[in-house]
Amino acid sequence: MHVSRVLAAESWRAAVESRNKCINALIAVAPNTSTHGPSTSQTKSAKLEGLSLAVKDNIATRDLRTTCASRLLSDYTPPFDATAVRLLRDAGASVIGKANCDEFGMGSLNTHSAFGPVVNPYDPNARRSAGGSSGGSAAAVAAGFCDAALGTDTGGSVRLPASYCGVVGFKPSYGIISRWGVVSFADSLDCVGVLTHTVKGAQAVFDVIAQHDPRDPTAAPTHVRKRASAAVRKHAWGGEHTDGDLKGLRIGIPQEYFPAELSPPPGLHTLLSHLQSHGASLVPVSLPATRAALSAYYVLASAEASSDLARFDGVRYGQHVPPAPGTTASTADVYAHTRSVMLGREVRKRILLGSFALSAGAFDNYYLQAQRVRSRVRSDFDAVFRVPNALRAPPAASTSNPITDIVAPNEPGVDVLLHPSAIGPAPPLPSLEETETGKEREESLDTYLQDVLTVPASLAGLPALSVPLNPRSPHGDETNSDIGEGEWPVGVSVVGQWGADELVFRVGKVVEKVVREMKS
């Protein structure tokens, strides 16, 4: 086992050395420690012995800098490991390096990074985006640098890059994976996510890190997790991807996710008809609050960002940039100067937007209104899922067994929702000039449509899994630059009720299997 670990270490290192320069997926690589002997995991369960892992750079690692891809934090090494990292290390995984991302997780193309953009490894010569904000994590997996990567997903930041890079990306239910050690962007939305080659691989990583952590006050308590699993067992489809028959599986197709402006990705119709022919029912559903969800998301995420990032001011955290000598600066100016110089354009924009939304005159009309919309979004989802929401089940303080205290199922609800993960394949990377001036975000319709697909699940805290819809055949010829538009990866998302993460994985495996059948 010891020998194989060292061999594994050498193989990823070679891949990183030869290809990271052009892909820019990793912004820090673990020092070569293979001579130091086996890891400390020997005494532990070691479920993931030998797993090579990339960690998004907004997740704390005690031995590698954690910069959040920001100039402001370029020298920061945390004194602790994030809980998710610690659990994975304890299970035998080795961290190969830190993954590039949009600064503090804000962006969807991974262009807002102090370390430069990530290039989609599917065809580096084409210089397309890897997606964001967890672009480095998705690209590291897609490029074969590692078996798995941790990302974070606040409004789609794991699912979108997974779709663009042709890998599996999972955003769990909010509160299932500890956020201890994750540098907050928007506390009520941030989730640690997993990127891997296969659904099975994602689930294996998820199973290790889906632990209640007393250090995360937003972590779902164990009894609520159990209540959610019990509700799924009792009310949801109970089949497996190995069953030939998908009878009883009810898949919801949300109409708001298929606007007239958007042509569904090639392969989606085939997938749906295959699923149907195997016995699954396709059910058109409506989530009417979707349109309002986007505005609500931007208000809430920005408001929280303005608060969560307040500590990065060059006095308490981050590199201090003194005002020009001779200028008389108020205390406020001193803070403002560092933040203006050291934070990127997208981060500054969201902080300003969020500060406005929280200001005394705007709070009611923006922040509180957005919270009301958020609760409508949750209700929308609760109305379509067959499994009741374990977070809304009556509090079981008086009953001795909270797990049996499950409200009646919502019939005829659906088990999961299914929709494209992205409105299209990876777009080309903007030129440097476009990034600086912000031109690249001006195709507003595309941006709007893209957010429709990922943001509602974030607002409702639901588990969502993106599975490649057109996987490349194993060991495809990566040097071929003549890739047609239709061959670029695109993912399909499976979304479930809160706490139904296991069901989402099960359906994800079905999708993965059917997609393979489609290819052959």
């Binding site: 954690t66 009520s188 408001a303 929280e304 500590r311 955290y317 200001s359 005394a360 709070f363």
Partner: protein, 510 residues
């Protein structure tokens, strides 16, 4: 000096500013006396500890750290709310108050702006026969401590205090004079100490006051209020209020208007100064804290807190008077009691009242309180010691009182034993000590009578002038002779019996 006079002045203080009415409201920030901080497991600190030694990554707001509510802080705040008869909310919530300052590591303070722990309530001020309504009680974090080194032009930040739990107790504007404000703060301080939720130590900064003052001519609506920040002694608070009142009166008299301001207090010049105007008031951008779920309390939890409530000062006073102590006795006991150490996490340390209660179990309370106040406290005081230094256990003190009551040790002998115990603390039984010191009273009998006769004769021959005076009926001089006998007998004989014997001898000898 002027302040002391004000303090002693009768409640008719309006003579200072006839024709004017003063309205005062107070926000008290009291540090919760918990072992650990409000949202981390870091131990709380005292001022004497080295800076930045009580800091965890969360306290310093390291990126990626998260808060975890310390339930003990909630329990102690609940005690305060119960003591103030407030309405406790089964659901309260935490909000973030944002501002940029180096003593606020995360850039926001976690407080309870929108849904506080408790609202309403009242604090009675028995000495003034009035009461002050409480508006609300909320939990929040203390900040770090920043000090400015003028010489080196450097700010020093000490994170020891950062994240310590605070109770913000907001009064209604019910006070009408600096004296009422002072009495409110003192009474609140005693209440917090009594329930163990805070040590209320203003000198040490564990209790701080912001005061709102407005002034209007009699019969006119209330004036514009100004807030004076961070007053850290009752004395300075009174001076600050008075100075602020005069400032307002001068402004209005001169035809001007008072503008709404936040002001500081200059202790050396005894006057307030402007910190910022209403226009400069910061927008704190309050936001519900997305990390902290609502604080949900069950009525059962509140009931448990209610049942574990220590006795409130008013009840203690009533109870002590009820067992027959004088007002004076009670004042002494409670004054000594209020100086006791406040234990962490609501642990009630034994003070003078508890000591008295234990002693009075099965004994005459009046005898007990005399021993405590006259002898024990008196001896401690003459040694420059406080009650917390008392090395004599309740059992020992009780035994001593019992021995004296039974005549096994005389009153004089008992006092000697007490002094001995204070000088040589031990856990030996008092009887044994009295025996070792030869202080057991001589048992009635022929031998004792003979010895007493001998000592009386010795006393008379040693003090012939006094004996002569006593013979002529001088009571005071007779006592001197008794004292001599006591000395000769080392306090082992009964004083009254001695007096009888001496009188007999002197009459006979006539």
């Amino acid at each position: 000096m002027a302040v002391l006079q004000l303090q002693l002045a009768p409640p008719m203080f309006a003579y200072r500013w006839p024709g004017w009415e003063v309205v005062v409201g107070i926000e008290v920030h009291a540090q919760i006396k918990s072992r650990r901080k409000l949202f981390s497991e870091t131990l709380t600190s005292t001022l004497s500890e080295a800076p930045n030694t009580h800091v965890s990554p969360y306290d310093a707001a390291f990126p990626g750290t998260l808060p975890r509510l310390n339930p003990t802080c909630v329990k102690l705040a609940l005690r305060t709310a119960l003591a103030l008869q407030s309405d406790i909310h089964l659901r309260s919530a935490f909000d973030r108050k944002h501002y940029f300052y180096a003593d606020l590591p995360s850039g926001y303070q976690i407080t309870q702006q929108y849904s506080p722990l408790a609202t309403g309530g009242v604090l009675e001020l028995p000495n003034l026969g009035t009461s002050v309504r409480v508006k609300q009680i909320q939990l929040e974090q203390d900040t770090a401590k920043s000090t400015f080194d003028r010489r080196r032009k450097l700010s020093h930040i000490d994170l020891n205090r950062a994240g310590t739990g605070l109770m913000e107790i907001v009064s209604e504007p019910d006070m009408r004079s600096p004296e009422q404000a002072a009495e409110y703060v003192r009474t609140l301080q005693a209440l917090l100490r009594a329930v163990g939720s805070s040590d209320g130590n203003m000198e040490q900064g564990s209790m701080r006051c912001d005061v709102n003052v407005s002034v209007n001519r009699q019969g006119e609506p209330p004036g514009t209020r100004c807030e004076i920040k961070n007053l850290n002694s009752v004395k300075f608070m009174m001076i600050a209020i008075a100075s602020e009142v005069y400032r307002h009166i001068d402004l209005i008299d001169a035809g001007g208007t008072v503008s709404q301001e936040t002001r500081g207090f200059d202790e050396d010049r005894a006057e307030t100064f402007r910190l910022r105007s209403k226009e400069d008031a910061p927008d704190y951008r309050y936001m519900p804290d997305p990390n902290l779920p609502p604080l949900l309390l069950t009525s059962k939890f509140i009931d448990i807190a209610r049942q574990s409530m220590p006795e409130l000062p008013r009840a203690t006073r009533a109870r002590l008077l009820d067992v027959g102590l004088t007002e004076n006795n009670v004042d002494v006991l409670m004054a000594v009691d209020s100086g006791r150490d406040i234990g962490f996490d609501g642990e009630m340390k034994q003070g003078a009242v508890a000591y008295f209660d234990a002693l009075a179990e099965g004994r005459d309370p009046k005898v007990v309180v005399n021993w405590m106040t006259h002898e024990l406290l008196g001896q401690l005081m003459s040694r420059n010691q406080t009650f917390s230094h008392n090395p004599i256990s309740v059992a020992q003190m009780g035994e001593l009182i019992d021995l004296v009551q039974a005549g096994t040790v005389t009153g004089t002998g008992g006092k000697s034993v007490l002094r001995h115990l204070l000088d040589n603390p031990s856990s030996t039984s008092v009887h044994t000590i009295a025996e070792q010191l030869g202080l057991l009273a001589l048992e009635a009998g022929e031998e004792t009578d003979k010895a007493l006769n001998d000592w009386c004769k010795q006393a008379i021959s040693a003090l012939p002038k006094e004996a002569e005076a006593a013979r002529k009926g001088n009571e005071r001089v007779l006592n001197k002779l008794v004292g001599r006998v006591m000395k000769l007998s080392q306090g082992r004989v009964d004083a009254i019996r001695t007096k009888e014997v001496l009188s007999g001898m002197l009459v006979q000898g006539k």
